[in-house]
Amino acid sequence: MKIKINKQLYIGLISVLLGLIAGAILMAFTGNNPFLGYSYLFRGGLMNIERIGNTLATATPLIFTGLSVAFAFKTGLFNIGASGQMLFGGLCATAVALTFNIPRELLLPLMMMAAILGGGFWALIPGLLKAKFNVHEVVSTIMMNWIAYWTIYYSVPAFFKGEFLETESRSIPEFASLKAEWLTNLFNGSFINYGLFLAIASVVIIAIILNKTVLGFELKAAGYNRFGAEYAGMRVDTNIVLSMVIAGALAGLGGATYYVGYASNIQIGVLPTLGFDGIAAALLGGLNPYGVMAASIFFGIFHSGKGFMNAMTSIPPEIGDTIIATIIYFAATSVLIERAMAIVSKKVKGEN
């Protein structure tokens, strides 16, 4: 077991390294100094306490969507619908925040519950379709993304219209935000919020479910070999639905940390890319919950650092995205890296 974790870790690190090298070549190709570029990129993400806070705040929803995708993957499902689940979960949390006028201690849990149920419900539908009619979840979750998009598009202006703009909801009151004064102050006024703690807790809980519980054993068995699970008497169809709902609930909660934590309102006509970035985080994290968290924070550095890099040099911020894409490419083709590692280790052994 130990060896396997280490191998995943090596593959992740090698992918990152190769991605960075590719990025450096690109920077050099556009006539810039890669060392300078990277130093600004990382400084932009990490140079002071406020920027570190922002990096973590950016990473928070990504941890959730990454976890959602990784969990579904482990159980044999490809959840491309984290964006939609996030959007709908965020809408539910926003709706609760704008509707109920109750003390913060009650309101925040209620909002989180609404986000979990909303996201879970959004994934329940593809789960049922897959279990009952064998509709592939890739198709149905993509469709659910757009249903969420248009649901927001019409329901936000109808019920929660913004004060100045038609294209966004009203801002939630301060006491309904996941931001906390002490936390904001601790990080010199950054966007960091309670969402990060929820994310860390979710990572730990999902890791425990997958590795230590009866439920995780059953869900993973169906993911690795559906026929084997059926033969062993597991209820595979029920498990598919349950897996989807858990994945959706994670993404929904991630939506809450984004729309009522990082931001304070919800915009219409935007399908958050975080759902797709979650696939990237899941892959780079080797589908391991802790790996997903590390990958998400790493991507967070890029997202919050690329603006600074662009401001200080003439390197376009798109280079940051390109590097991430390249890293994903290497992580996704990890079989090649594994083979290369096998050849190298064989040679090393042969020489000894």
């Binding site: 519980t213 009866v214 070999n225």
Partner: protein, 507 residues
């Protein structure tokens, strides 16, 4: 030199394994030369090299004394080498003629000249006594005729050397006899045959010489008529093998499994099992004999709950279980060694210990308050590993994908027997295993019977059925042909019944 094909000092390495290590095989013109070895010994690799599918790392191939390079199957065909694959490569809704000319269509102008081809095929069929109707559709002819069509395909391409890859696996005993006759006819007409097999009996009846391969190494080439079956087995396995299954006389007890008028729909909505009835009593092994694809799979899936039944009933210890879920059947005392150990038997990416609790992970002591009890799971796995001699790289934490087929199968048998079932269903329990593992698993099945359990054995190997069973139920076309007592029957009778020739039930 009268060798038609010589493969000299062939070596082929795959990552992590030497499949062929310095192997030499010489084929005389007009002989039947058998290639004997266990599964994974390297027979298929060697033949794939001859057929141009792999390039050897070392060694050379000579055809008619000339050194040749064979880079693809077309070149092999041009050199007069043809292969009859284990799984036929035929288009089902084409006629035999159309299948045979595929790739070399005779044309007159823009049009196919089927008539001429059909005539040529008819003549070839007569010459080698193949008894093939060139105008029949493949889907309407028997497996035996499909195989003969494959042979004709080679002859049509003027093959001088024919490679047969495990040709008898899909045939009834009568069809095997016919095939042997055909092979003799072929050699009389000057063709040469390389026969890949692990069945010693066939080699003894048909082959002239035999080359034995064990774990990629050549053990030797022997004249078949001067070598006993036991000696060849010893060469193949590397130790003395016992062929006899020791089984004591025993009276069967109460009925444990009672199947009545069972009908099941196949995957295309066709009824593949029709009004099937039989029973298994405690302390006996009932074998289901039949040619592949005659309803055995559906029968097993219906009994174990993997497939819904259309009508009829399944009684386990007098309780009707036909509506039970798979889990409820398991807890009611049924265990199942599945036909396909990779598809059903194991979660290959799980470790051995995890696979050993695949059906009981949610029960005490393996689960406690929704959490897995890893130390109990480990103990359970250690016990099965000890009891069933399961060998693996890292013991209980070995990922099962990395284990050998024999050890995977032993682990499954161990897991199922460990449930202490009243009814053990074993489907093809020794498929693809080496002789040693087969011996071992047979012993374990008989142990179950001797301790008063009911055992249902489904196998395509007629020898296995005849050796192990107390009673044999023969299935053909989804229907029961009859039941015979193993001690009062023989291969010939069962073979005829497998072909669908009925016989009165003996009680």
């Amino acid at each position: 030199m009268d060798y038609i094909v010589e493969m000299l000092n062939i070596r082929k390495e795959f990552p992590g394994i030497v499949a062929n290590d310095d192997i030499s095989v010489n084929l005389k013109k007009g002989e039947i030369h058998a290639l004997l070895g266990e599964n994974g010994a390297g027979k298929s690799t060697l033949m794939s090299i001859l057929f141009g599918l792999y390039k050897p790392d070392k060694g050379q191939i000579k055809v008619n004394g000339q050194v040749v390079n064979i880079n693809n199957p077309n070149q092999a065909n041009d050199l007069g080498i043809g292969m009859v694959h284990q799984h036929f490569k035929l288009v089902h809704n084409f006629t035999i003629t159309e299948n045979i000319i595929l790739g070399l269509e005779p044309k007159s102008g823009l049009f196919l000249n089927l008539k001429e081809a059909s005539e040529k095929i008819r003549k070839l069929s007569e010459k080698y006594k193949l008894n093939v109707d060139p105008d029949a559709l493949i889907e309407n002819v028997s497996v035996g005729m499909q195989q003969r069509a494959e042979i004709l395909k080679m002859l049509y391409r003027n093959a001088e050397v024919l490679i047969f890859d495990e040709p008898t696996a899909v045939l009834t005993p009568q069809e095997i006899l016919e095939l042997i006759k055909i092979m003799r006819n072929l050699t009389e007409e000057g063709k040469s045959i390389l026969l890949i097999t692990h069945k010693l009996k066939e080699i003894k009846t048909v082959a002239d010489r035999c080359t034995v391969i064990r774990r990629g190494k050549m053990i030797g080439t022997v004249d078949v008529k001067d070598t006993s079956t036991a000696d060849m087995a010893e060469m193949m396995v590397g130790r003395v093998v016992s062929f006899n299954v020791d089984k004591k006389e025993q009276e069967a007890g109460e009925i444990v499994l009672d199947v009545k008028d069972l009908s099941v729909l196949g995957s295309h909505g066709v009824r593949t099992l029709k009004n099937f009835s039989f029973s298994v009593r405690s302390g006996e092994i009932v074998g289901i004999g039949g040619v592949d694809g005659n309803g055995q799979t559906e029968l097993v899936e219906a009994i174990t709950g993997l497939k819904k039944i259309e009508s009829g009933s399944i009684l386990l210890e007098s309780k009707d279980i036909s509506d039970y879920s798979i889990r409820k059947r398991i807890t009611s005392g049924m265990a199942h060694i599945p036909e396909d150990r990779h598809k059903h038997g194991l979660v290959l990416d799980y470790s051995l210990e995890e696979n050993m609790v695949l059906e009981v992970y949610n029960r005490s002591p393996y689960a406690k308050n929704m959490f897995l009890n890893k130390s109990e799971i480990r103990k359970h796995a250690d016990k099965i590993i000890d009891d069933f001699d399961v060998r693996s790289g890292e013991g209980p934490v070995t990922i099962t994908r990395s284990m050998s087929g024999g050890n995977q199968q032993k682990a499954i048998v161990g897991r199922e027997v460990d449930h202490n079932p009243n009814l053990l269903i074993a489907v093809q329990p020794t498929r693809g295993l080496d002789v040693g593992s087969i011996e071992y698993i047979h012993k374990r099945l008989i142990e179950q019977r001797d301790s008063g359990k009911a055992v249902l054995l489904v196998s395509l190997e007629l020898d296995e059925i005849l050796d192990l069973s107390d009673r044999i139920v023969i299935i053909a076309g989804g229907e029961k042909v009859g039941t015979v007592n193993a001690s009062e029957t023989n291969e010939n009778e069962v073979g005829l019944m497998m072909a669908g020739v009925g016989k009165g039930d003996t009680p």
